[in-house]
Every structure is written in C-alpha cells, then in structure tokens.
Symmetry: C2
Subunit: 158 residues, 2 copies
C-alpha cells in the first residue's frame, strides 16, 4: 500500500463512516507525521453534546496528547470536508504544516469557500492547503446523509 | 453584589490570575446563563500541552457538559482578552448569545482587531459583541506577564 494523500484520505473517510453510523454529520479526520498516523477523529457533536466535537478538533486534541506538545509541527491533517472557522483557527493554533481536504464546504468552509483564512494577515501560522483529494467520495457521503435526513423529514410531515 | 458585566468580568480576571500562577498567558473566561455561572476556564496551553487549551475553549467544553447540549443559547461568555480566530469560531459553533471581552488583542483578535468575524457572511450564528469591560485591569495582567517574560530573557542573555 502506497502511503500517499489518497491512502490517508481513505482513512479519514473511514472515520466519516463511523460518524455516519452514529447518525452524526459524516466528517472524518486523520493527523499524520512522517507518514505515520498520529491520531484519528470523527464528528461527535450530537452524541457527545459538544459544540467543539468536530472531527478536526477531536484529532488535534488527541495528537497534542500523543506527541505531548501543543505544537504539531511536521504534521498534516487530512479532513473529508473543508474545515469551518473554528477548526481552521485550531489548525493555525496547533501549527499543523498542511491541511488536505476532500470536498469544499461551500456554506461554511474557511479555506476558500465562505472565507479563506490564509488571506488574513498577521496570523502566527499559515498551513499549506491542498483540496480535492478523493473529492467525489468525501462529497457523496455527506450529500447522501443530508438527502436522507430531508427524506425522513418529508415522510414525517406527510 | 450586583451581578453586572463588571462583576462577571472580575470573575474572569480571577481565572486569568490562576493561569498567571501557573506561568500561562493570563487569560480567563466565564460563561453565564440567567445571571448564573455555568462554567469557568483559564488558559492551559502550556501546562496541558494542548493547542486547544485557550480559556474560552475550556469554558465552552465545560458549559456543553453542564447543560448537556452543544447549543449554548441564552449564554454569555466573559473573556479578559478578545478571542482569537479559533475561539471566535467556537463561540459561533456553540451559538453563545453574547461575547463580552475586556481588552482588545491588537495582534490576533477576531472580533475587530486583526479581523472581525461578525463581518463574515453566511455564518450560522452571530453573537452580540461588547468590549472594554474592566479593560485596564484585563490589559495590565497580560502586559505585565509579557514584560516580566522579556526581562527574564534579557537577564538570561546578559
């Protein structure tokens, strides 16, 4: 198995699939350093009643613990969907070298969609940003989730 | 004791003073609902080696747990210093009604200094923002902290 961006993103997708099984918005994240997985996370906002329970935050918290450092220099984060403002801010705070995401979040994405935080001056860190890795798969999981949610709602209102 | 903004900010300052004793950047936060304290937090980034260990994040996490909800509607957060991008994003995510801070953070503040996130369109929540409550005291704690740090460094390099 070649450990390239597609490989690590496929693992982030597996995390999203765990979230899906728990009826959470299916988003997953993986943090990698020197080609080794440091931590994994999936969205737990509803099940843990935690506003901070986004996949990226879960993975960053675990990575800090594992590396015993708040500085995640040398790390990359793979996320299925473009991070929101909070998660983009957490990536800046943790000094993660690179963020690789699958699909844009046209509504709330903070790396180019709704806002591009890398265009904000004076931040104390700017990660490299790559997008579109396994885009279709990342997008379809979340699209299907919301489609199903809408159908259930329609059915209930019938 | 009148439970006004100054009262709650003075409690946030007490949290900042705990951080100071632990040699952390002295920032404190308090979350209040219906004039009752829901949670407290102070900066633990260094002592807990946690990039997410800002005062606001600590307080939001505890508040979600206490109220058993990721939605902190009806809550206000008092912070001694203007929140950064991550914390501002967390305030949006947790739907906190109002953020009241003491002193501006001219370098990294996300409610008017470096950026004003309330000017970003399409966010799913916009808190009311108030600043300048017990400004001098909030500012002096952090200024003295950094001044002392610089003096220690100067002494070491002498």
């Amino acid at each position: 198995m070649i450990k390239n961006d597609e490989y690590f993103m496929s693992l982030a997708i597996k995390q999203a699939e765990i979230a899906l099984k728990k009826d959470e918005v299916p988003i997953g994240a993986i943090i990698v350093k020197d080609n080794k997985i440091i931590s994994k996370g999936y969205n737990v906002r509803e099940s843990k009643n935690d506003a901070l329970g986004h996949a990226e935050i879960v993975a960053i918290k675990k990575a800090c613990k594992k590396l015993n450092s708040w500085r995640l220099c040398g790390c990359k984060i793979y996320v299925t969907i473009e991070p929101c403002l909070m998660c983009a801010g957490a990536i800046v705070q943790s000094r993660i070298d690179e963020v690789i995401f699958g699909s844009y979040d046209t509504k709330g994405g903070a790396f180019g969609s709704n806002i591009d935080i890398t265009k904000i001056s004076n931040l104390n860190h700017y990660p490299k940003v790559t997008n579109g890795v396994l885009k279709e798969k990342c997008q379809s999981i979340i699209k299907n989730y919301f489609k199903q949610k809408r159908e259930v709602k329609k059915c209930q209102n019938h």
